[in-house]
Amino acid sequence: MIDFEISENIANMKNMVHMLAENMMRPAARKYDEEEHQKPLDFINMMWEDSKRRNRARFEASTKPKQEGKPEKPAENSVMFANVIEELSWGDCGLYLCIPGGLGVAAVEAVGTSDQKERFLRRFTEGEPKWGAMAITEANAGSDTAAITATAARDGDHWVLNGEKIFVTSGKAAVQDSEGFVVVWATLDRSAGRAGIKSFIVEHGTPGMTVTKLEKKLGIRASDTCTIVFEDCRIPLDNILGSSEVQKKDSTSGFKGVMATFDATRPMVAASAIGIGRAAIDFVKEEFEKQGVQIRYGISPYRMTAVERDVQQMEANLQAARLLTWRACWMMDRRMRNNLEASMAKAKAGLAITLVTQKAVELMGPLGYSRELLLEKWMRDGKINDLFEGTGQINMLIIARRILEYTREQLK
């Protein structure tokens, strides 16, 4: 039965996070944009307290044997998560990306052994804030992850990693500023192509791993994005995620598993975009309210102002992106394959946020262009969502392949 009402549970959580976003994130947003590479410690510590508590509960649940027979409520984790991220990004996307934890944690959670979970995730239930980053991109391997040149080689009881990773979100926080770790994609066998690529967990402070550069960026400046170099960096054998066996060349099944994490993360990036876009629209509409500018629906374009139409298009595009995102999440909650829908959500959200935030800046004239308001920041922050976790173009390619039922070879 088609239904667009989010559950009470989600609605409550959404409200709570919204309050937090409004009171704790918005007031700090500008400061950590202007003071690039400063850590928003107050915010981080606050989020950490909350996250420790949640992680403890989750950790205990995951180690306890499942009770059978107990009727489960339909899962709605993804939809919940999307709504939380929308609110946090409505607060501030840069700060949101600073929250302890991260994609590395999600990866260990998804495919780690129970030993790995104990070794790497237990720490998220106690002590100081920690991050688990994910290092995929290289200078010459962006969307084309198969071109990864970082290597892992076995040497006795260790893997030895070599290579350079760029654009590691929260990388410095994970391996230098906290007792975290980074999950590194590296190849065991270049001749095996995609199948040779595996991911390895590297502890903070492991010798041979160095943060060499912090990127200066257009937006999301509160979030650290760094380059990490691995030089003969030795890690224990059981720090590999998943099997160490390299499939034969034609097989991409191992790689597909890795790529499938994108199906989970892309709707979340979309949700983040939507949060920023909503911030912009909310702001514009509040300003209109103050200034007595009306947005009228359903009247002739001969009477409607150009601005009214702009705002209507912004609203419709944002809502379209939101519904596509919810659909992708809803499918994920039901364990339906959502590869196509995840990319649709991400692609549409990227376009929508670009349209919405760029237009919002224009609509506010000199005020929109000024760093006194957050509007221009949202335009800068928002742009990242059309670039990371697969550019708009990569997502279009995925969509095209799916609708055409084409392989990677048939549609390059």
Partner: protein
């Protein structure tokens, strides 16, 4: 709780209508467009689906299924996926029946509803649009003035489907010049009422299979009782929202048809040694079309769902329709582009979809669900 799944009932209706669209509409739509005619056999077959009586309360001869805008949107999408002109023709009586169910007085329901639950199709229609470039609801120029026990209607309507044969036309008119959109009310005007003149058939770029007319009212006098809802009147904005959602859903149907056709063509058509779909320029066009078909459908469903829930939906219904009108034009135009020169030829359906697609920005009030 959030769900993107059809209910069992909705799935059944979807499958029935889709089959009908593919088996009964697709084989004849081109001939109907070229000839400007819809075969009576088609209309009979379509009526056998009993789509409209399905939602009429049993007391008036219907099946009594509660009406749902979401279900209506699903149904309208598939019908328009078959053919837009034929779909409008099939659903035309709903423009009278559904407003009657929603707002009609007991007398009005008893008088009209049973007529549209019979075994054979009875034409009926709504007269909403006016032949002006800046038409909208608040500025409606057709007037209904109360005079004694009657209303006297004056004005000019256009794009009234099946007007020539309609048993009754629901005519929208301004009753109170000072009241803006709220002053607009609807009147049940029976066939042959003096002062209602049905003009020659309109010639349009698209919608060619469908007989639409200008309808001119010159001191057309109707009894007070013919005002929809009687004294209480009706909420025209709400009726318009159903029309917006219906149009949006039909735009999705046309878009989906165009997208699928272009996609299949692009996979078959070989140029420079490979299917043209294997080139990013074409593939990305198709990807964008696919996204927007889904995006439009979701916006439409959400607006429909709000209507069903009784939530405020003026904004959502209007935006869904605007968005759909923009996207159906984009998608049908792209479909022609994917076919290249072949898209310009009337052997392929895409040019027809483009002609119909361009109309959605204008078709306010043409359908309801």
């Amino acid at each position: 709780m959030l769900s993107f799944e059809l209910s069992d009932d909705q799935r059944m209706i979807y499958e029935t209508v889709r089959k009908f669209a593919l088996n009964e509409m697709r084989p004849i739509y081109r001939e109907c467009d070229e000839g400007g005619k819809i075969p009576p056999e088609f209309i009979s077959k379509a009526w056998e689906l009993f789509l409209i009586p399905n939602n009429v309360p049993e007391a008036y001869g219907g099946v009594g299924e509660p009406r749902s805008a979401v279900t209506g949107a699903i149904l309208a999408e598939e019908l328009a996926y078959g053919d837009f002109s034929l779909a409008v023709c099939m659903l035309c009586p709903a423009s009278v029946v559904y407003p009657l169910i929603e707002f009609g007085t007991e007398d009005q329901k008893q008088k009209y509803l049973p007529l549209f639950c019979e075994e054979s199709f009875k034409p009926a229609s709504a007269a909403f649009m006016e032949p002006r470039i800046d038409f909208d609801l608040p500025s409606m120029q057709t007037k209904a003035a109360a005079e004694g026990g009657s209303y006297v209607i004056n004005g000019e309507k256009c794009l009234v489907p099946l007007a020539a044969d309609a048993e009754v036309i629901l005519v929208y008119a301004q009753t109170d010049a000072s009241a803006d959109a709220k002053g607009v009310q609807a009147f049940l005007v029976d066939k042959g009422t003096a002062g209602m003149e049905i003009s020659e058939r309109e010639k349009n770029m698209g919608l060619k299979a469908l007989d639409t007319r200008k309808v001119i009212f010159k001191d057309c006098r109707v009894p007070k009782e013919s005002r929809l809802g009687g004294e209480a009147g009706c909420n025209v904005s709400k009726l318009l929202n159903y029309s917006f959602v219906g149009l949006a859903a039909m735009a999705v149907g046309v878009s989906k048809a165009a997208f699928e056709y272009a996609r299949d063509y692009a996979k078959e058509r070989v140029a420079f040694g490979e299917p043209i779909a294997s080139r990013q320029a074409i593939a990305f066009m198709l990807a964008e079309m696919a996204i927007e078909v889904d995006a439009t459908r979701l916006l439409t469903w959400e607006a429909a769902w709000r209507l069903d829930k009784g939530l405020e939906s003026d904004r959502e219904a209007y935006l869904a329709k605007q968005y759909a009108a923009e996207k159906v034009l984009m998608i049908t135009d792209r479909a022609v582009q994917v076919l290249g020169g072949h898209g310009y030829i009337r052997e392929h359906p895409v040019e027809l979809w483009l002609r119909n697609g361009r109309g959605f920005a204008t078709f306010d009030g043409l359908v309801t669900i």
